[in-house]
Amino acid sequence: MAERPELALQLAGCEAVLDAAGALWLPGARTLVVSDLHLEKASSLARRGMLLPPYDTGATLRRLESAVRARDPRSVICLGDSFHDRAGPERLAGEARARIAALQRGRDWVWVTGNHDPELPPAIGGETAATLVLGALTFRHEPCGGIRGEVAGHLHPAAKVARHGRSVRRRAFVSDGERLVLPAFGVLAGGLNVLDRAFAQVFRADAFLAFMLGERRLYPVAPHALAGD
């Protein structure tokens, strides 16, 4: 296991580290960025009769706790859709609430708002913002392209490689060196193929890389080597 499950790159001139768990680490600002936690997704679907296992919030928080423990960040940015719906924070169990509070203790915490969670109750702690600028980087939920240094989520990028009649599909970061889209961090959040036309609005065709999350490392793959769904 010589390879470290992370990969460093220059993002709009800033040093950025992608880690294989799907979080972005900015060493300069000691900032950890995660996107699309979709907390309380299972309970959201349960309201409509799909009784999915109610463990997704706990599992996602455990992943987040492990990322925070590994980096000990000064600040944490959640890039939107942190909750699967507006009522998510209310449904949050007391234990999960306490775990979030523990994570927030001693550091700055920003909830960037997303389309699933346009508003967050103050009780959930931290700051709320629609957009956040940090040096050369701009943090927002939905990428709009065009802006240099934009860091976003929303699209849940996933990439697929097919060889010899078999295929593998994984969550992935997408970047062209100027912009970055983070994969979803929530355990029950699905993925959208990076070859989908939604990504064409952010990246010039063929001028980006998908960084597929592997078990032991990240795999940068160019679009022409990727398969569609």
């Binding site: 299972a42 296992p53 097919a162 295929s167 593998v168 062209d176 592997g214 940068p220 160019a222 398969a227």
Partner: protein
């Protein structure tokens, strides 16, 4: 078999004059089994009729109902409501066909009987009308029975029901569809006490399983209650032979190309030939090859489950009209529908089971007194052995239909919800009703309670969903649905057939999904398309196609320039070799005196094997090791079927990895398993590092299996099916767009979450039960490992043996397993590295990544 023989009274006392006259007018006499069934029905008994095709099974099944209905006295002022007889068939087309055949006697005898079909294709207005004004005989499918039993007015609708007839029962009972039907039958018995059943079946290994299925059971222990049995001995013995070919029989492969000239000659020499194959890919290949040598332009058609429905119907109509000389078909033609004048059945490839072979050969010649004629065409040398074993089995009339397993838990969950949709249920009464169904007779109260809990709130230890419950206990203690929406969800998701999502295949132009309105060629499984990249070629619908891409749930393809497809297998519908035939093949190998019945070249192959290596003993597992081109191979010959071998391969490579043998991959066939490694496996085994006994120890089914299962895509696919059937996630319906990441819930992710938090959840229990017999065939692997314990023979060789050649030739054709997933991504990443070193066109950031970050 020492049961008292009940003498059937003469026909005239059983048959009303109207019926006797009808038979006489047509110059027929009722057959003994038809009368026997009638007589038992008149005594109020349920019966199983086992008869070969052409024995007049259908008429026998309906005769008691027709007689009863013709004699029914309808008191004035007492309106009769609801069907008297329910007929259930596994195929929509069969129900329609039977209805047509039945209309004739009904009309000719002027019986006061109305009969109608009800299937998924029946228009809504007709279905609604049928509920208000039901026919006397309703011909339908298991899914429709479930919907009717779960309707609010089920109690009234079924109040008159006297008889349920199950056609092709042998094929129904082995699936989850049969489980659901058994549960609905239990409900029908509650709604209509005194209900009789009639099962119609082909010959099976264990008739008692079907007899028990047909009647109510009275407890988990002791003897099962059985229905009556009417057995019609098979007519003339089939005239069966293995194709004698002068050509070289190949070592491996499944195309049987070598035998084409002989097959073509056989087609020419007969009126109508049915050619059966095991997979859709084989059907495509054979069809194509036949047309390349079809100098006489004989009308030869293709029929398999993925073709466009319209095209299939045209083939069936042409067949019935007698205008085809040959049809190449997969299992879609195994059942039911009468084809008229088929006088030859050719089975290309090994039959995989003795009973399946008998049923397929029975498709030829529907008059039971004449022998059916069949030719077996083995596609390779191992298949010659298998065909020989099948022929011997057929000769002695051996049957190897699979044993019935306990009713599935996911089906149980679906049924419980259905019963709540019909009307609030009392849990104790429902449990009592359910255990009267044979597949569920051992269902204990605790498991049943867990199933109810699952239906209500998901059955999670963390009781988070009380307020979202789908069913809830009411004041009187009964369980009812909490919202009308739940009933609607149930109706949309009813049934146990979870097709893997299918994509339409549309023919367009090369280079893109150009234009809509290209011709529809049929449907393929989404997971197959997902492995394709643009430009890949494959065989489908009788042509070689180039994959262009996917748009709006359709796969676009163009005609490929080359005839040779790159993607070898579109393997829809593979059957594993039955244990019975596997034992037959093993026996054949150990009895050289029986080899004279094999073709000379196959005999020679076995003789050289005996000389260069040796042959496996009767109960022995033979393992050969040898070096070849800087790799070290191990080939084992368990003959347990491809699925069990694949599971074995996964587990062995894990163990070899731990032992430091550095395995690289493996490939599995129905007969053997080959593993290759960097280190000398022969030397390692000889030194006991590890010993073969330790390597093949049964304990691999413990921790190793658990660890592997955690990430097995096969198990995830099994889980998806269970989750849909049990109603955890909803079906995707045709035409329903895949609207992207928010709507579709990935069952893989749900599986991971559930597995790490509630490993004992009822759905995981259901998934494991399926895996034991299904895609992983763990049950069979376990039996094999315990059988060969202490009987593993190691043959160390300096070079490959004749018996090992076939499987080595499969490498590169069959999927090879190993650490493939990470490798594939590493591969793709390396492509990028090479490129980035050469020409830097990704801009600064990416360049740095490609050059630097990878370490």
């Amino acid at each position: 078999m020492n049961r008292p023989i009940h003498r059937t009274p003469p026909a005239e006392t059983l048959l009303p004059p109207r019926f006797g006259g009808w038979f006489a007018a047509r110059g027929w006499a009722p057959r003994p089994h038809q009368l026997a069934l009638l007589e038992k029905a008149q005594r109020g008994l349920s019966s199983l009729l086992i008869a070969p095709t052409g024995a007049g099974k259908t008429l026998a099944g309906f005769l008691p109902s027709l007689v009863e209905l013709s004699e029914e006295v309808r008191a004035p002022g007492a309106p009769v409501f609801g069907p008297h007889t329910l007929y259930v068939s596994p195929l929509k087309a069969l129900a329609v066909d039977i209805a047509r055949n039945l209309e004739q006697p009904v009309a000719e005898m002027a019986l006061p009987v109305r009969l109608e079909t009800r299937t998924g294709d029946t228009p809504l207005h007709k279905r609604q009308r049928q509920k208000l004004d039901p026919p006397d005989i309703l011909l339908t499918t298991p899914e429709q029975v479930a919907l009717l039993a779960a309707s609010k007015d089920a109690r009234r609708f079924f109040s008159r029901l006297s008889v349920v007839i199950f056609d092709e029962l042998h094929s129904l009972v082995v699936s989850k569809r049969g489980d659901l039907l058994a549960l609905d039958l239990a409900r029908l018995r509650t709604l209509a006490p005194g209900l009789r059943t009639i099962g119609l079946s082909a010959t099976v290994a264990e008739p008692d399983d079907l007899r028990a299925w047909l009647v109510a059971q009275s407890g988990p222990e002791g003897e099962r209650n059985l229905s009556e049995l009417v057995l019609v001995e098979g007519g003339a013995r089939p005239d069966l032979a293995i194709l004698a070919s002068e050509a070289h029989i190949p070592w491996q492969g499944h195309s049987a190309r070598y035998a084409l000239p002989e097959i073509y000659r056989a087609i020419k020499a007969h009126r109508t030939t049915l050619l059966f194959v095991n997979t859709r890919w084989q059907a495509e290949m054979l069809f194509q090859e036949l047309w390349t040598i079809n100098e006489d332009a004989l009308p030869i058609a293709l029929h398999h489950g993925s073709l466009d429905r319209g095209q299939r119907r045209r083939v069936e109509a042409a067949m019935a009209a007698g205008s085809l000389r040959a049809v190449v078909a997969t299992s879609t033609l195994d059942l039911g529908i009468d084809w008229g004048d088929v006088d030859l059945v050719v089975h290309v490839g090994a039959p995989k089971g003795a009973s399946r072979l008998a049923q397929r050969i029975g498709r030829a010649n529907h008059r039971m007194d004449e022998p059916s004629k069949g030719i077996l065409v083995p596609a390779n040398r191992f298949e010659v052995l298998e065909c020989r074993a099948a022929l011997d089995a057929n000769y002695i009339g051996a049957q190897d239909t699979p044993p019935l397993r306990a009713g599935a838990l996911d089906v149980l969950c679906q049924h419980i919800l259905g019963m709540a949709v019909a009307e609030p249920f009392d849990a104790v009464a429902l449990h009592r009703e359910i255990v009267s169904a044979a597949p569920y007779r051992r269902l204990d109260w605790e498991t049943f309670e867990r199933a109810v809990d699952f239906v209500a709130t998901g059955g999670y230890a963390l009781r988070a969903y009380e307020r979202f419950a789908r069913i809830r206990r009411r004041k009187d203690g009964s369980w009812g649905i909490t919202h009308p929406r739940i009933a609607q969800q149930y109706r949309l998701n009813v049934g146990t057939i979870v097709e893997s999502p299918m994509l339409n295949v549309r023919l367009g132009r090369k280079g893109g999904a150009a234009g809509r309105g290209g011709r529809m060629l049929g449907q393929v499984e989404e997971y197959f398309v997902e492995t394709l990249v643009k430009g890949d070629t494959f065989r489908f619908a009788g042509r070689t196609l180039r994959f262009e891409g996917i748009r709006d749930n359709e796969a676009f393809v163009s005609n490929a320039a080359s005839e040779d497809p790159q993607i070898p297998s579109y393997a829809g519908g593979k059957f594993p070799l039955t244990t019975y035939l596997a034992a037959g093949v093993r026996r054949l190998l150990t009895e050289p005196e029986s080899w004279r019945r094999l073709p000379p070249q196959v005999r020679e192959w076995l003789e050289i094997q005996r000389e260069k290596s040796r042959l496996p003993g009767a109960d022995e597992l033979m393992v050969e090791t040898f070096p070849l081109r800087s790799r070290h191979y191990m080939v084992a010959f368990p003959f347990e079927g491809r699925l069990a071998h694949q599971t074995l391969g996964m587990l062995l490579t894990r163990r070899l990895e731990r032992a430091g043998a550095r395995p690289l991959g493996f490939v599995a066939t129905d007969y053997a398993l080959a593993v290759w490694a960097l280190r000398d496996l022969g030397a390692l085994f000889a030194d006991g590092r590890p010993s073969l006994a330790a390597l093949f120890d049964e304990d691999m089914l413990g921790d190793d299996l658990e660890a592997w299962l955690a990430d097995s895509y096969l198990l995830k696919r099994t889980f998806r099916t269970c989750a849909v059937i049990a109603g955890l996630i909803e079906r995707r319906h045709p035409g329903q767009e895949k609207t992207g990441r928010q709507v579709t819930v990935s069952t893989d992710l749900v599986y991971d979450v559930l597995r790490s938090h509630e490993p004992d959840h009822i759905l995981l229990q259901a998934t494991r039960a399926d895996a034991a017999t299904g895609l992983l065939d763990i049950a069979r692997l376990g039996e094999m490992l315990s059988r060969v314990k202490g009987r593993i023979g190691h043959q160390r060789l300096s070079r490959v043996s004749p018996l090992s050649v076939p499987i080595l030739l499969e490498i590169g054709r069959e999927p090879v397993f190993g650490e493939a997933q990470e490798d594939m991504m590493a591969d793709a990443a390396e492509d990028l590295l090479r490129e980035a070193m050469g020409e830097a066109h990704f801009g600064d950031g990416a360049d740095r990544v490609a050059g630097g970050g990878l370490g």
